[in-house]
């Protein structure tokens, strides 16, 4: 599935909730589903800039397809990490290199998260692009 299609899917999920707090409950649930990231990866080099909470993101290249893992110390942010990984993990290097940062606005995350947190999401996407450009 293309990144655009995955964004569309997540958007539909988020649009389902009319009440903002329900969206957060959903994010918290997503955070709980996030696979744990080994503590040896929770080091400064893997930190995402722009997040008020700590977010770590790592990348594995399997035959030109990038797989990401990540986590955060905050539960809601873990949910955001889960969402971002759902969208971007398991994508080709070429597709990731061309990711448009405006994708965040597609998700209408501004309604869900604060400006600070949104810049954190942008930080995560930037880090993903960095990994793709270096791959």
């Amino acid at each position: 599935m293309s990144i655009e299609n995955r964004v569309e899917e997540i958007k539909e999920d988020l649009d389902f909730f009319e009440d903002e707090l329900q969206k957060y409950e959903y994010l918290i649930d997503l955070g709980k589903k996030l696979e744990p990231l080994d503590e040896t990866y929770q080091i400064p080099v893997n930190l995402v800039h722009g997040c008020t909470s700590q977010v770590w993101l790592i990348c594995e290249n399997k035959d030109g397809v990038l797989h990401f893992k990540g986590t955060s110390d905050a539960i809601i942010v873990k949910g955001l990490v889960y969402m971002i990984l759902q969208i971007f993990s398991n994508s080709s290097i070429e597709e990731l290199q061309e990711v448009d940062m405006d994708i965040v606005h597609e998700l209408k995350l501004a309604e869900v998260i604060t400006p600070n947190r949104q810049s954190g999401v942008i930080g995560m996407i930037k880090k993903i692009k960095e990994y793709a450009l270096k791959a």
Binding site: L21, Y24, I28, T52, S53, A74, T114, R117
Partner: protein, 394 residues
């Protein structure tokens, strides 16, 4: 009871508990600024037509109101600035840079730490930090040790910790510092919103004041400079309205306060600040202190009921702000959720990273009150905190 005086509370359904960051503005403060812009907008201290004279009169009237409000001895001791950060940077650069040692406390805001780093000072090299105990109380013994080892130092200490609400005994700090020949600046950013300050009683050499944390406009503050130091403080910035005479060879400056207020000032802001002080005079500090103590004590007792809550100081010698964490919960999560439940508070390091590092935490959840907050605000906060905790723990 006093919320009716503040338009924000008519227009917003937010429970506002971020007064340590900025306070709401009473109608009279807003009106006085609008009146200036609508009815007599002109520059001060320059032109001589009617509106210009009125603007100058009101601007200088504000200086007198602030002078009387803090019981300074003369108008010349009051210099308007952009705020406390500028006040501290001004004195750091124009007066304190020549001092071999600067002494600060552990509870300082970054605005009373970074200016000293900018002078090339670091811990043990021109900068000393007074320890606090496990209740965040100022360690007077350590302070005296530092004063003994560093004669004629410059002491720059906050009155009230913005992060924890802890109140320093600034009168005693000043007395002890003076005994060792030190000069004292007090960061009073959080002071005027909660406590009456009296320059004759405190006896500090400099006292930095914020308007926007005192129910006045943003972008305005002041520095009180004791008259004995007026001649020794150099100009910070120069330009319009600071000079006596200029030719292409040299300039001679006016006396204080004019030599310190270069360029067109925030005239509307200063006039608005005076209105805020007049409003506070009407409310009275007896009322402010009594209401705050009552609501602060209620806040503390209700917070204490939350399981696994962790505080860093008790409420003795504290006003306004109450800082805490909840075991196993990252404060950012709480901040996001209570915001969506219409509670305005602050989570994070509150521009006081060094003390957070000493305490081994990244930050806290800070509830900061003003005299317009009431029991209902506290009840709404507690409801929201409990709901957020349920969401995060379930």
């Amino acid at each position: 009871m006093f919320k009716k005086d503040f338009p924000y509370f008519k227009n917003s359904n937010i429970v506002y508990l971020d007064n340590g960051a900025t306070t709401q503005k009473p109608q009279s403060v807003i009106d006085s600024q609008v009146e200036y812009y609508e009815k007599y907008c002109a520059n001060t201290h320059r032109s001589n037509f009617g509106d210009a004279n009125k603007a100058t009169t009101n601007y200088e009237g504000a200086r007198k109101i602030l002078k009387e409000f803090i019981n300074a001895s003369q108008n010349e001791e009051i210099v308007f600035t952009k705020g406390v950060s500028e006040s501290i940077n001004f004195i750091a650069s124009s007066y304190a840079s020549k001092f071999e040692t600067v002494i600060i406390s552990s509870l300082e805001h970054h605005s009373n730490i970074v200016p000293w780093h900018m002078q090339g000072r670091s811990l043990g090299k021109g900068l000393e930090v007074v320890r606090c105990d496990e209740n965040l109380s100022f360690d007077f013994e350590h302070f005296e040790e530092i004063l003994k080892a560093n004669a004629n130092a410059f002491v720059s200490i906050t009155h009230i910790s913005n992060a924890f609400g802890k109140v320093h005994n600034i009168k005693e700090i000043t007395r002890l510092a003076h005994e060792y020949g030190a000069i004292v600046l007090i960061d009073g950013a959080q002071s005027l919103a909660h406590l009456r300050v009296d320059m004759q009683d405190i006896d500090a050499d400099f006292f930095a004041i914020s308007a926007h944390k005192t129910f006045g406009p943003t972008g305005v503050g002041a520095i009180y400079i004791k008259n004995t130091h007026l001649k020794d403080v150099g100009a910070y910035q120069t330009g319009g309205a600071t000079i006596h005479e200029v030719d292409f060879n040299s300039s001679t400056l006016l006396d204080s306060p004019y030599k310190f207020e270069a360029g067109t000032q925030n005239i509307a802001g200063v006039i608005g600040f005076a209105s805020a002080l007049e409003y506070l005079n009407k409310v009275g500090y007896e009322n402010i202190e009594a209401i705050e103590k009552d609501v602060y004590t209620y806040l503390d007792s209700e917070l204490q009921k939350i399981p696994d809550i962790e505080f860093y100081n008790d409420i003795s010698d504290s006003v306004g702000s109450r800082s805490f964490n909840i075991k196993g919960i990252v404060h950012d999560d709480i901040g996001i959720l209570v915001d969506k439940m219409k509670i305005a508070l602050r989570v994070g390091h509150h521009c006081a990273q060094p003390i957070m590092k000493e305490l081994g935490i990244k930050g806290t959840i800070r509830v900061s009150l003003a005299f317009y907050n009431d029991y209902n605000d506290v009840d709404e906060l507690i409801k929201a905190l409990n709901r957020a905790l349920k969401m995060l723990k379930d």
